[in-house]
Symmetry: C2
Subunit: 352 residues, 2 copies
């Protein structure tokens, strides 16, 4: 670990950082990142229009792998800059502000750096945290980007109806666990897939899924889906892509809907797997739609009201997997792609 | 050619037929079919509830190849029965009827046999032809199933708006030529792909497409699409699938719509090609929807009114490729999959 010296105000301060070393091809490894002691001035220079924050929680999200590839072709993400800290969603406390919307002591969530302290000048999309009767880490998940993804991806994209058959892949993850519970609250029949017995138990016992299976133990995903959905699937909430999508297409009901939230099984492949069963889109009159959560930020206040009520009334359960310390960040992020995390993967940098 | 003897009324009559020999794998060949002289009684037996028809025009439609595979997994089509005549859309004249809705002399379009005369007992979906100031063959195309497919696939599935950028594959075919003209009537910018210079000329000169290209001459479909749509595609009317779909996904605009009508490039493959660029569904918030035209038969009367006006006012052009005689049926059908036809492929069995 390199060590350097930082100026805070006029005082020299350490700023530990997770550095993105270079563009990645193939499966992400811890050695693609490096933890160093960088430097930062905690006082903003005169005339700047940003904030200085102390980072509290960082969010490990599947899309981050996409930012590690050199952007070619259509992409909503800018690539990370080699030799710079990773950035991602996080919860932070404002230490200094030269922007009228934020003041010292505010808690915020939004895009920040993978480091102890960050200077943020891109303030659009930063949201002030008003409710602190729930754990602050929730704003990286159930009350943050993944929560809003689950909410809009299910309610807005899937047009769900009571009694429908819902299948969710990566179902114990940050998004999947919420989608399943939304579907249960709506009176749907819900089955999830996940990658371990522990996760399958969690889905059935904690999150109230009607059933769940370990996809790693199924040699024939088509047969597995036929077992759990003998009458077919009305709604598929897509988090993984690849072979699972091909099997689901064979098992959709007529006029089924597929909400495409993510394709995590593909993010570490240099060439995505081909999906062969698209003829089912015609035979089964399937509506398939991709979405990007940032398009729906305007409904965040409504979403927050609903979710806070659900949490306070105990109607929604939520499971996090919290890694302690910035040093554990690279392993936590890598673990996401092999499914090592159980529930939403968070990295704790500092308690308030 | 085998020869046999038929009874008409009590009279013996020949009934030439195109026989589906056995399930097909790989590319369809003429030898997968056989023209024989079969037999038929033209008088219905007492107590039956069907009609006897003289077939006039038969329609060659891409989906027919799907009925030649032994049905496995989800399919909206029943397979053809080996050693029986092909069936498909056609125009016919009623010779005898024991059903109150049809009488001798009526002209109808709908599902009939690939033969000179057919007994039809499945009358649902048969539509009586009321307007004969247009060629009868039009009821296999512009005024029949392909016409309605173009109409609902464009207006109902794509939600088109004036000024949008529309791309159509297999654009000179029965469906594509109409979609392109609908899009022009709506004020869209329209480009089509087809498989020969002759067809490309037809698209630009006869059908009024803004531009067109021969996909067989393009080594890089992505680059070709970038040339014709530097700002991207709002609406893709999908008739072919495979590599073209992969290239289109890379070139869709945000919130683009893909209407999946057919995947003709895949029908003769034992394993469909894999489509790799589905991540674009997310990045570009794409809405992709398959449809089956029979779900929309309720709007046929409205469609017919609109199309008859368009034809009579010269607002819509229409090109047919008419093969003469039932014997030419197998070659005409096979030719569909290599794009030998120019315009809607019809087989003329008999003039009224």
């Amino acid at each position: 670990m390199a060590t350097s010296v930082v100026v805070v105000g006029e005082e020299v301060m350490r700023n530990k950082q997770v550095i993105f070393k270079d563009y990645v091809s193939g499966f992400l490894k811890e050695s693609d990142m490096q933890v160093i002691n960088g430097t930062l001035k905690l006082k903003l220079p005169e005339g700047s229009n940003g904030i200085v924050v102390k980072n509290l929680y960082l969010s490990c999200d599947p899309y981050m792998r996409n930012r590690m590839t050199r952007a070619e072709g259509p992409n909503i993400f800018t690539s990370f800059t080699p030799c710079s800290p990773l950035t991602g969603f996080g919860v932070a406390k404002v230490l200094d502000s030269s922007h009228p919307n934020f003041k010292k002591g505010d808690l915020i969530w939004g895009t920040t750096g993978w480091e102890e302290y960050s200077v943020i000048t891109e303030l659009e999309g930063l949201i002030k945290i008003q409710h602190t009767d729930v754990p602050l880490s929730y704003y990286t998940g159930i009350l943050g980007m993944p929560g809003l993804s689950a909410y809009v991806g299910f309610y807005e994209v899937c047009s769900p109806k009571k009694g429908e058959y819902v299948f969710i892949s990566a179902a114990s993850g940050a998004v999947g666990q919420l989608v399943g519970q939304f579907a249960k609250l709506m009176g749907c029949y819900v089955v999830g897939s996940a990658g371990s017995k522990e996760k399958v138990d969690l889905l059935k016992r904690k999150f109230g899924f009607d059933d769940a299976f370990n996809y790693k133990e199924e040699t024939d995903l088509d047969a597995a889906l036929k077992r759990y959905f003998p009458e077919g699937i009305d709604i598929y909430f897509e988090n993984v892509g690849g072979k699972m999508l091909d099997a689901v297409l064979l098992n959709m009901k007529d006029h089924g809907r597929i909400s495409v939230c993510g394709l995590i099984s593909q993010y570490n492949l240099d060439q995505p797997e081909g999906v062969q069963n698209l003829m089912c889109l015609i035979y089964k009159r399937i509506h398939m739609k991709g979405f990007v959560v940032t398009d729906y930020y305007n409904i965040y206040p409504k979403f927050l009201d609903v979710m806070l009520s659900y949490i306070r009334e105990g109607k929604i359960m939520y499971v996090e997997d919290i890694a302690e310390g910035l040093e554990s960040g690279p392993a936590a992020l890598v673990g996401l792609y092999s499914g090592r995390n159980v529930g939403k993967q968070v990295v704790l940098i500092a308690r308030e």
